[in-house]
């Protein structure tokens, strides 16, 4: 075949000589995806035990999940907290990113780094710190407390996405609007906001996912009727392996795939513009 004998590019070795690279890359990509999708067939198994491929198919683990008051309650708690975190973190992070980006103040960089520390510091430390402080404030095991803690994790993410968006956007447009008489606020809402709206949407989805998938803080500060889905899953995983988790995992994979494809779609539209 001609393809294999040709160099990969003018400055590279032939395709045949670097066949190993293609094989390695494909194997790695397969290994990345398999553990993400393997839970789907598992969840339709009829067996108590984890076997693959399942010998009999059934929906019993979905029945188990949707029929269990405990699982349903913590799913609703997680959705609730995720949505609230998204609603709080998205405007907060957007405002912080915008302010720090346009200010040009010498301290802006330091403040930025300070605000994104929750992303850098090991989450376990945030978890025990929060647990301790919330214990004093009586916020442990409350929805409000969980939203607060998750917001501190999601806000830096929003800030980073919005800052990246602002970097590709020409702020002069806003200056023009202001020179034409628009107030600063009006200029932001009419000129800047519409142009970064796709990034804001991406940031909001990620903020939701950050909260929805968060495990460690939830293990510490959620409990009782306000236990999150991840906390429940973690204890089910550590103590004994309940196949119901395969069904829940499948649903979670579906959610994240849908959100990921939404952002990819948004990005494609943005590029086209």
């Amino acid at each position: 075949m001609g393809f294999w004998k040709k160099p990969a590019s003018e400055t590279q070795i032939t395709h045949a000589d670097r066949l190993w690279l293609y094989v390695v890359a494909l194997v790695i990509m397969l290994l990345m995806v398999i553990p993400t999708v393997i839970v789907v067939p598992m969840s339709f198994s009829d067996s108590q035990y984890l076997e693959f491929p399942p010998s009999n198919w059934s929906l019993r683990w979905y029945d188990e999940y949707f029929g269990s008051a405990k699982w349903m309650r913590c799913t609703i708690t997680s959705l609730h907290i995720g949505v609230l975190t998204m609603i709080v973190a998205t405007p907060l992070g957007t405002m912080a990113a915008y302010a720090l980006y346009v200010s040009g103040h010498p301290a802006a960089r330091a403040i930025f780094v300070f605000l994104i520390t929750p992303m850098i510091v090991p989450v376990i430390l945030i978890a025990i710190g929060t647990f301790y402080v919330f214990g004093r404030l009586g916020l442990n095991n409350t929805i409000g407390g969980l939203v607060l803690a998750h917001t501190s994790l999601a806000t830096p993410l929003v800030m980073i996405i919005i800052t990246a968006a602002l970097r590709t956007y020409d702020l002069n447009q806003e200056r023009v609007a202001r020179s034409l008489g628009a107030s600063r606020l009006k200029a932001f809402f009419l000129i800047t906001l519409p142009q970064i709206r796709f990034s804001i949407l991406t940031a909001a989805l990620l903020a939701f996912l950050t909260s929805f998938d968060e495990v460690i803080i939830s293990i510490f500060i959620s409990g009782g009727v306000n236990a999150t889905l991840t906390k429940q899953m973690f204890s089910a995983l550590r103590d004994y392996i309940d196949p119901t988790i395969a069904a829940i995992s499948t649903i979670m994979v579906l959610i994240s795939t849908a959100l990921l494809l939404t952002t990819q779609f948004i990005e494609a539209r943005q590029v086209k513009k």
Binding site: V39, S249, S256
Partner: protein, 237 residues
């Protein structure tokens, strides 16, 4: 001070840190070894096709860590898919213990950390201008030589940035070692939780935490001196 003293005296605490560093270093190395070829492969493709293949890195990245840890538990167990497959093609005869030990922990951690390395590295590789490779070729460099002398050094900042992110994230990791390690791979985060759960000893847990925090900040400080911190986080050079 008492808590720190005990930390120094207790051999078990030193062991916890040793294991933590061992797991973190090994995971980072595995990520570099498999992440570099993957990023290189992706960076050579036309942007559109690379974007589609990139989904294989992004999908796990967006999927709950618990789900992926659970999946590895299923894949790696004695009667799991991997053991069955390896026995079928004759790699080994009897089921090998792949989970509830160091091996399982490393596999799971590498899978979770790989995107953190590939994304910045891919970005760095994309920014290397093809003209530079042409120039190297014009000056008489063979393809392999041009790669090692021009391309590889220029991709290093991206690789260092990604590796540092991976290493720092590994240091404080909790879920995967706790589940896939099966109690045999006790890392700092696991130990902190255990102390709080069993003894409710805030002093000891905090002392362990402070050391972890200092280690993390020290590495980030080094990273900040080598590369600009916000650029590390944005995956830019």
């Amino acid at each position: 001070m008492e808590n720190y003293q005990r930390m120094i005296e207790y051999k078990s605490y030193a062991r916890v840190y040793l294991i933590t560093f061992e797991v973190s270093i090994l995971t980072t190395l595995v990520c570099i070894l498999i992440g570099y070829p993957l990023a290189y492969f992706l960076a050579q493709l036309p942007q559109r096709i690379a974007g589609i293949f990139m989904l294989t890195v992004l999908l796990p990245f967006w999927t709950s860590l618990l789900v992926r840890t659970y999946a590895w538990l299923v894949l790696l167990q004695k009667k799991g898919l991997l053991n069955e497959f390896a026995m079928q093609i004759g790699l080994w005869e009897t089921p090998v213990k792949l989970v509830h030990n160091m091996t399982g922990t490393l596999i799971g951690m590498a899978h979770i950390m790989l995107p953190f390395l590939v994304l910045p590295l891919y970005g760095a590789m994309r920014r290397i201008e093809p003209e530079l490779m042409h120039a190297a070729a014009n000056l008489g460099a063979k393809p392999v030589q041009a790669f090692w002398k021009v391309f590889f050094p220029m991709s290093l900042p991206g690789m260092v940035a990604g590796s540092l992110i991976v290493f720092v994230l590994c240091l404080g990791f909790y879920v995967t070692p706790a589940v896939l390690g099966g109690g045999r791979v006790v890392m700092v985060a696991t130990q902190i939780t255990a102390i709080l759960e069993n003894q409710f000893n805030w002093g000891a847990a905090s002392a362990l935490g402070v050391v972890l925090l200092i280690a993390t900040l020290f590495i980030l400080y080094l990273a900040g001196r080598m590369l600009k911190l916000d650029n590390v986080l944005f995956g830019r050079n």
